[in-house]
Amino acid sequence: MRKFWSYLQEVFRPYVSKEARTHRGSDFEVTEPYPITAFIVLALGAVFILSIQATNIDLVQFFGNLDNMWRILSRLLQPNVSFISRMVGPMIETIQLSVGGTLIGSVLAIPVAVFSASNIVKSSWVYGTVRFVMSLIRTIPVLVYAAMLMFIIGMGAMAGLVALSIFTFTIVAKMFYEVIETVDMAPYEAIESTGADKLQAFRVAILPQVLGSYVSIVLYNFEINVRSAAIIGFVGAGGIGLLLNDRISWRQYEDVGMILLVLFAVIVLIETLSRYLRKRLA
């Protein structure tokens, strides 16, 4: 018992006394930082327990129905090849949606990005407000936009296009203004000193510096948008997701497997292409 007590004292000493953490050398002394690891572990443990409580984890049900899951997975792994003829149309629509959303969103983002760059717009009021509003719009996930637009525009690809455009708009605006803020301002000032107005100076001095990054940002967003466009149909907004949802609700997992396979190929192809182009740009 006594041994245990002294052990406890030894363990907790660094928490109570600074002396225990101080190492004295011949010429200098170092004090270790306060040991917070234990508190972090405790806090994480507490959150873990709370999260299990909040999410009604039911492991019995999970393991009881696990064979159900294996059945679904094994059917997914036997894709129905003949289904491919029915998915060409929705697949093209998915790509159309992501191309259109990317184009519209990233063109609209240019002026907003300029107005949120602190080196172009000098008034902190203007760029602060623009950035704040944009960050509010950016918090809402693209699928929530799509779900809301269902009620506003109605079912179909148009709602998906608008949702993807809004989302791309916010992301490109943020990434682009961050690029604009890193440019070399000397040419801009030089052009301005010749009597050019701000727009002319921007076109000649800033645009060539940021154009490559802009195209790279747009391509990156295109990659994201292909993934979003693939699932945007689950809320009714067009694309392959509509078909996926339909096949899943009819429990046609062989068809689902085929769609996933083609989707995988398309996504990998587009990502490879986009990454190649971005590398060339950089």
Partner: protein, 271 residues
């Protein structure tokens, strides 16, 4: 105004990219028109405008009762639940990603194994998470538990990819140095591997946690979560003031977690 001959000369030799520019412009315009879906009826209809105005009114004057009461299924509780789902999902994803990332690192296993694991990781990453969500709903029924499992599964892909990159960047010289001192495997893990990887691992998981909070909201749209579900139901039932409250909840929870995650990551990596 006279220009010096050098200026005139170099101006005459400027790159002529007019054809290229025209080609790109035509290409982009073509892509634009190709991508616009056909749409019957007016894009901006009276009822659409009505709903948008009501939604904005709802945002400006949300139902304060829903917004601040601590009762179950009101906004603060839903925000808390969303974060908890994302947290548990991230933990699951991290736990699954650790073995995958070590097995998939070319500097640890042989290249055949690494290749196999990387294919597996790409497969997991490209699986649309609504598909996983609906499969888990078939297994455990609708509710946040299905959401946790979905987020755990879908996080695994990205976390494993980021972890693999970290492990492949690891300095193995330290392990050789420890070998020469006669350290055991556990000791090598404790002082040679964990300190190198820990900060980056935690940083990647925090990054994914940020994404997972959004995904936990979205999963509500297929009834594997609650915040998204309640928002959709509120708009569908014309309860725009409730919808406003849920939207503020989404904005708040995403912003707070994004801010916290970004700052913690900055602190972890740059000290």
């Amino acid at each position: 105004m006279e220009y010096s001959p050098e200026v005139v000369q170099s101006y005459a030799k400027r790159p002529r990219t007019f054809v290229l520019k025209l080609g790109i412009a035509v290409g982009v315009i073509f892509l634009f028109f190709w991508s616009i879906p056909t749409f019957e009826g007016p894009l901006i209809s009276q009822s659409g405008v009505d709903i948008v105005t009501r939604m904005f009114q709802g945002l400006l004057n949300p139902s304060w009762d829903k917004m601040f009461s601590l009762e179950t299924f009101h906004v603060p509780y839903l925000m808390y639940e969303t974060v908890m789902v994302a947290f548990l999902g991230t933990i699951l994803g991290t736990l699954a990603a650790i073995p995958l990332s070590f097995l998939g690192s070319r500097n640890i296993t042989n290249s055949a194994m690494a290749f196999f694991i990387s294919i597996l990781v790409v497969l997991i990453r490209t699986m649309p998470f609504f598909v996983i969500g609906l499969i888990y709903i078939r297994v455990v029924g609708p509710g946040v538990f299905a959401g946790v499992l979905t987020i755990g599964f879908t996080s695994t892909g990205m976390i494993a990819k980021l972890y693999t990159e970290t492990v492949e960047d690891m300095d193995k010289g330290i392990l050789e140095a420890l070998d020469s001192t006669g350290a055991t495997a556990i000791q090598k893990l404790r002082v040679g591997i964990i300190p190198q990887l820990f900060a980056n691992f935690v940083s990647h998981s925090l990054y994914r946690f940020d994404i997972n909070v959004r995904n936990a909201i979205i999963l509500g749209l297929i009834s594997a979560g609650r915040l998204g579900f309640e928002l959709q139901a509120a708009i569908g039932n014309f309860r725009y003031r409730d919808a406003g409250a849920y939207l503020w909840g989404i904005i708040l929870v995403v912003m707070v977690i994004e801010f916290a995650s970004a700052n913690l990551r900055k602190k972890l990596i740059y000290g």
